[in-house]
């Protein structure tokens, strides 16, 4: 009976060893700007949100000579220990990437009033926290307008990850943008229920295409990769990607991607800190400051045509000038009316 329990113990130890990612690097020099980051559960390599934040950190390293360190969260239970670990190491700025961290950060920021923090996608009302959010509805509005201009079936679709308020900004902006072009357009909405179920992402995309939609705006994290696989084998159907530039994952089949420049937010915060004027309060990045944007149609410029692209620029100007205010919630969408521009 001596052996009893050894195998599972060894397995658990090995699993822990395999799943823990240790970063070995030289420590910071004295006086160097120290930037720490806690990722959300999607982690590095999601080709989307967390990777974009990491690009901002790498940019800070290259341009500001910062010392950087990333702690990845495997689950929501890792947020607090990761944030505390970085706090104890006295980083100049600690980034919390993702709205799910707002409560943990609020608590930790209160306990460490002299430490600077930044949170992406959520608002934490503490004097030592800068909150960076994005006007996803503005970029999604342009995506919806493009879809409505391109559809041949007068039916388009939205595929979301989880049915949560953050994603409603994408949904509401997209539907409003489509109605701006064609007030009677039919927009189907479906949700994967997670951000990782790639197979379900593909199946749902196929269901949407089969029921008559010919363009899908997919905002479903890694499940987008399934939707992208679905569109590759379809003749006259197209997709719009999200967060990072996904156009190259199925060249010609992805009309554009609604890019959310988390990297810009991360870099701006670091730069202001180094210049001695740390940002505070709530910063909203939109079309104007390139916080959100459509890609440059590298593979689809000919397909879309110059006239439609001109129209998109016109709509973008109208949003920047405040003539069009895309809705950010379902309630706002319900009372939203197309604006003549």
């Amino acid at each position: 009976m001596k052996h009893k329990g050894i195998v599972p113990l060894a397995m658990a130890a090995l699993a822990l060893a395999l799943s823990g990612c240790a970063h070995h690097q030289a420590g910071p020099r004295p006086g160097q700007l120290k930037l720490g980051m806690v990722t959300d559960v999607g982690g590095l390599g999601d080709k989307s949100f967390n990777d974009s934040a990491y690009r901002g950190l790498l940019l800070s390293k290259a341009k500001l000579g910062a010392y950087i360190r990333v702690l990845q969260s495997r689950s929501a239970a890792d947020y607090q220990p990761n944030l505390i670990a970085l706090t104890n190491q006295h980083f100049n700025m600690i980034y919390a990437i993702g709205f799910l961290m707002n409560r943990d950060l609020d608590q930790i920021a209160k306990q460490n009033p002299t430490q600077h923090y930044a949170i992406i996608d959520a608002i934490v009302n503490e004097p030592n926290v800068v909150s960076v959010t994005f006007k996803e509805q503005d970029g999604s509005f342009l995506a919806g307008a493009l879809a409505a201009m391109m559809t041949k079936t007068h039916q388009i679709a939205f595929l979301g990850g989880q049915d949560i308020p953050l994603l409603h900004k994408f949904e509401a902006g997209y539907i409003a943008g489509a109605r701006e072009i064609d007030p009677k357009i039919k927009v189907d909405v479906k949700w994967v229920g997670s951000f990782d179920d790639v197979a379900s992402g593909k199946e749902l995309a196929n269901v949407l295409y089969d029921s008559g939609a010919d363009i899908i705006y997919a905002a479903a994290g890694k499940a987008n990769l399934g939707a992208i696989d679905a569109v590759k084998s379809r003749q006259n159907d197209y997709l719009i990607g999200v967060d990072s530039n996904q156009d190259g994952l199925a060249p010609g089949k992805i009309l554009t991607s609604m890019v959310k420049r988390v990297d810009v937010g991360v870099f701006d915060v670091a730069k202001a800190l180094q210049n001695g004027h740390p940002l505070t309060g709530h910063i909203v990045l939109g079309l104007k400051d390139n916080g959100v944007s459509l890609t440059h149609f590298k593979y689809t410029r000919a397909l879309i045509g110059a006239a439609r692209i001109r129209r998109l620029h016109q709509l973008k100007r109208a949003i920047v000038d405040g003539k069009i205010v895309p809705p950010a919630t379902r309630a706002e969408l319900a009372v939203w009316k197309p604006v003549k521009v």
Binding site: V7, L18, G193, D197, A199, E203
Partner: protein, 290 residues
């Protein structure tokens, strides 16, 4: 309207098959393992291992068929680990199963960084293409085969005896541990096949978390199906049907929130478990080390 109904029905039937197949494979794996007396809650991990190995092999050789074989092999290997631990070391099977789930998820995550230097998801690889419809049909062939083996062959009788009363098998001059080990290996191979179906059948990448609890659904299907191959297959198709139904209905029933719709398969399973299945009885020595 008729057109829509017709289209929706065709979608529903095909989608039910697509959604069921990976769960059928894993559930059949669960049946053979549990009938031999080994509780296999590592099905999810074996699916993960199969899904990842299939992508790695397809990437390395450019041949999806090799990927499929690799997925089955790695699933079988994980089944062997569970079987060996459960028979040789008499470990707690629940702990060992959880260990396999952890090691598969962690191993695949590490493998992504090691092999492709990109955490989260693999590059795109060659997929099975049309062959994947054959793989859906093959799931039902496996159900037929497993039923035949378990109930119509001496080997199957012995496997079932190991799950009910291993002492009786010993007294017949046979080694129950050997049968259990074989059953665990077959169980892992089937779950690995289910995982490979997901990664190189349905799509063409491995992405962390892509099995999304299907191994645990399969575990429920085993119980729902009363530990029989056809029962578990039926239960897996039942889950698949309600998953497909919620996919088709989502957004069409305006007053029902999407979360409620997504809970439909689980709700249906609960109702069925409480009302239709009646009293279930697990193999008497299921989960008991011998």
């Amino acid at each position: 309207m008729m057109d829509f109904v017709h289209g929706a029905l065709a979608t529903l039937v095909l989608l039910t098959l697509v959604k069921s197949a990976p769960i059928v494979y894993a559930a059949l794996g669960g049946v053979i393992s549990e009938r031999s007396g080994i509780v296999n809650i590592g099905l999810e991990g074996m699916m993960t291992g199969g899904a990842f190995a299939a992508v790695v092999a397809s990437y390395a050789t450019g041949n999806a068929a090799v990927g499929l074989v690799a997925g089955v092999a790695v699933g079988a290997l994980l089944g062997f680990v569970l079987g060996y631990g459960a028979t040789k070391f008499k470990v707690d099977q629940i702990v060992a199963g959880m260990g396999i789930n952890l090691i598969a998820a962690g191993g695949a995550a590490y493998g992504l960084v090691l092999l492709y230097n990109q955490p989260g998801a693999s590059p795109q690889v060659h997929a099975l293409g049309r062959w994947y419809w054959l793989l859906i049909l093959f799931a039902f062939v496996c159900a037929f085969a497993l039923h035949h083996v378990l109930y119509r062959t001496p080997w199957g009788l012995r496997v079932r005896a190991c799950g009910e009363n291993p002492r009786a098998v010993t007294s017949a001059g046979l080694d129950p541990l050997r049968f259990r080990l074989y059953a665990a290996v077959i169980s892992g191979a089937l779950a690995g096949l289910g995982g490979a179906f997901l990664s190189i059948g349905e799509v063409n990448i491995y992405s962390e978390g892509m099995t999304a609890g299907r191994g645990f659904i399969a575990l429920a299907a085993v119980i729902f199906g009363r530990w029989t191959p056809w029962g578990a297959t039926g239960a897996a198709v039942f889950f698949g049907f309600f998953e497909a139904l919620q996919f088709v209905l989502q957004g069409r029933v305006a007053w029902l929130p999407s979360e409620a719709m997504q809970a439909l398969p689980y709700l249906a399973a609960l109702v069925a478990l409480c009302g239709l299945v009646g009293k279930v009885r697990a193999p008497a020595s299921d989960g008991v080390p011998y």
